[in-house]
């Protein structure tokens, strides 16, 4: 089998004191240089994708980093300076405007030539509603509905331009074929969205959408992220997710390879120790999941060890593979470029 490797690069790492062990002073965290250097290191190491956590609220309590540049901006900033690594920002599903979300992610996909992804994440902290002046969404069923609607609207907008909508027909003076642009006419319980998108269909057709196990309906996303306290729990959860329709299942894994003590429990599987131990764990996970997303305790300590020892060992063993330049994130993950749904409907209608 083959394991896709991702790395979460938000902040200084999951350990509350990670900022003290960073390779730079605290005031250099929120700069383009730091973002670019880390993503370049992850790409050179052979990671399939880098993800960027986000929220409208400040990230750190207890004296850690209180600042965070939004995830789409960070992913876009490195889009044109990298060539193989997937770029996967978190964008919230509870309060954000799906129209903006769709345009931002489609633009990321253009700038990265098809390496964009999206972690669709619920906003559970009510202060997000307070910051945006929105009515709080609290009932679990309502939070789930907002997530379902957000994913549906974003996906429909990506398809609202067929691939060949730009025709440049000199004879009739038409730049686009308006029959290949579609209103999505979304009507939800809380809002409606007319469409079409302002951005033409992104290079991948649909970006790779990630959701969390136990929240998102596996059939609505491409990758389900599963957590569990032990490798056995992960294996069970992964099997369950596959049974309920998940295309790809990735395990969430905290790692502490540097001198740092492990971060406090996050509910994710956690590994602390030497590189060889992590290689063994990843090889064991390989038979249960399609990929792993690593959450380093201290980015600047763990990323070099991953790059120098862990990933080379997995590459040598044929467990992991370096993404090929020019490929999209979808093709790296073995996913097809989806047929545009409006085109599919149109073809079906005309063949009836």
């Amino acid at each position: 089998m083959s394991l896709h490797l991702g790395i979460e690069l938000d902040g200084e790492g999951t350990h509350p004191e990670a900022w003290r062990r960073a390779a730079h002073t605290p005031d250099r965290l929120l700069t383009g240089r730091t973002v670019a250097d880390r993503v370049a290191a992850a790409e050179n190491a052979g990671f399939t994708f880098a993800s960027f956590d986000d929220s409208l609220l400040p990230p750190g309590a207890d004296g850690g980093p209180a600042g965070r540049i939004d995830a789409v901006n960070r992913a876009a900033f490195v889009a044109a300076t990298t060539s193989t690594i997937g770029l996967v920002p978190v964008v919230g599903t509870t309060y954000a405007e799906p129209f903006h979300t769709s345009s931002q992610l489609a633009t990321l996909d253009y700038a990265s030539r098809g390496r964009g992804g999206w972690i669709a994440a619920r906003d559970t902290d009510q202060r997000v509603a307070g910051a945006l002046g929105r009515t709080e969404v609290t009932a679990p069923a309502d939070v789930a509905r907002e997530e379902r609607d957000a994913i549906a609207v974003v996906r429909d907008l990506w398809d609202s331009w067929e691939d060949d909508a730009v025709i440049r027909d000199y004879a009739t003076g038409r730049f686009v074929d308006r029959d290949r642009l579609h209103y999505i006419d979304f009507q939800g319980d809380a809002y409606s969205v007319k469409g079409p998108a302002i951005v033409p269909r992104p290079p991948q057709g649909q970006l790779v959408v990630f959701g969390f196990d136990g929240q998102t309906d596996p059939s609505e996303v491409d990758v389900v992220l599963v957590s569990g306290a032990t490798a056995g729990d992960i294996a069970d959860e992964a099997a369950r997710a596959k049974d309920s329709g998940a295309t790809l299942v990735f395990a969430e894994l905290d790692v502490a390879l540097g001198a740092a003590t492990p971060a406090p429990s996050s509910g994710r599987l956690s590994f602390a120790g030497e590189a060889t131990g992590l290689v063994d764990l990843l090889r064991a996970l390989d038979s249960h999941v399609d990929g792993v997303r690593l959450h380093p305790a201290v980015v600047d300590e763990d990323l070099p060890v991953l790059a120098r020892y862990v990933i080379p060992a997995l590459l040598r063993a044929g467990v992991a593979h370096r993404p090929v330049p020019g490929s999209t994130l979808r093709s790296t993950l073995g996913l097809d470029r989806p047929v545009n749904r409006f085109r599919a409907e149109r073809l079906e209608e005309s063949s009836r």
């Binding site: 003290r20 002073t25 605290p26 005031d27 929120l30 700069t31 383009g32 670019a36 409208l56 609220l57 400040p58 990230p59 004296g63 850690g64 980093p65 209180a66 600042g67 540049i69 939004d70 789409v72 901006n73 960070r74 876009a76 900033f77 889009a79 044109a80 300076t81 954000a96 405007e97 129209f99 903006h100 345009s103 489609a106 633009t107 990321l108 253009y110 700038a111 030539r113 202060r127 307070g130 910051a131 945006l132 002046g133 331009w161 730009v166 440049r168 003076g173 038409r174 730049f175 686009v176 308006r178 642009l181 809380a190 809002y191 969205v193 007319k194 469409g195 302002i198 951005v199 033409p200």
Partner: protein
Amino acid sequence: MTDNSYARPGAQVHFGVFFHGVNHTTIWSDPTSGSQIDFETFRRVAHTAERGLFDAFFLGEGLRLREQEGKILDLDIVGRPDAITQLAALAGITRNIGLVATQNTTYNEPADLVRRLSGLDLLSGGRAGWNAVTTDNAWTGENFRRGGFLDHADRYERAGQFLDTARAIWDGWADDAVATSTEAPSWATAGSVQDVSRRTSQFDVTITPTLPRSAQGHPVIFQAGDSPAGRDFAAAHADVIFSRHGTHFDEAFAFAEDIRARLRRAGRPEDDVKILPGTQIVLAENASEVEDKVRWVLEGQYTGQTALSLVGQVWGRDLSDRDPDGPLPEFDPVPAPISGTRGAARDGKDPLAIAREWRALAEAQNLSLRQVAIATTQRSGFAGTPGQVADELTRWVRSGATDGFNVSPYLVPTGLDEIVDLLVPELQERGSYRTEYEGSTLREHLGLRPPLSRRELLPRQAVG
């Protein structure tokens, strides 16, 4: 009005490039016209502008595809990227040029938009700008949760409150909030980040700012809007005005005088806001070539179909079966305010009055429908040899009509090349254009004072 009433002998021309996106003035039918959406096109234009020492690369915004007669307009270039995301990608591959995003205040919330603008500002090392527009068609709202919720008159009310909130967020972090040593007691100094609470007619929010100040304090504020309310908004909040007045000198000068008066009334120095009108520049070797080229550009921009569509907007009906080289329609427009093209500039005006005006013009100058469309809607800007245009732009800037220009190339991505290769050197020879970037932030490029809200905290002489 004389050219000397506001003379500024040493003034230099500032250039921005306005990458239009949706429009009919970029000639897409030319073989050299590239993709209007691929990143490579944007990279090419931004790098050319940076090679030409431009102050800024500028993206427009429109959050719904334009329609005419209930159908999506299919003649114009359609499709554009999200501005902030695209500029963040360009920030990664440029070093000096400013990156300005047009973003409206109606379909965004401060907590989110201000944060994304600050992110761009930090990633680019202080090169971000925000063209704050109010989006005057409610119809755009059908793409958003709120729907079309604001009247034209209320839009500047919200925009003003939006800007006040934005400034409070930007000022929410003390200059030295973030620790400069990993030994510090905490990452941010205790008490150095202030929550922002607003209960106004438009906002009921409590925001914890998440970003420090950038190398230029905060993004440079641009404004584009021409009504008295729009101009007052600029006098109260803006660093730069992206104006419509870039074609006729007297009109541009009068606009600048009006803005200077509004700035004085607002208690600001009269050169506190820079004025950069949108314009087009056509260059050729000699007079007869200039004439040919202007004709070629206009014919590319005003195809028969486009002329019929523009006139059809006023007449409120489909005219596509008429002859563009024939006369204006003999029948009258439908007597309703123009709403045929959602998102067109003439929304809300009286079509009968416009038709009367256009007929008089056609009669007086013996113009075809297409020629009327050109005469009434094109804002061509400047045409001439590089030397002639350099003289003219220098005159505009030195006599106080503008501070520079936001150039829209009529060909994308190659159209900026000749401006950078031919016109910029002529301007430099006249001493009216920089020969290198003097600073690294957009605020420095434009010669702006520190951000408005922070000035009172600075020593007086630094304010100027």
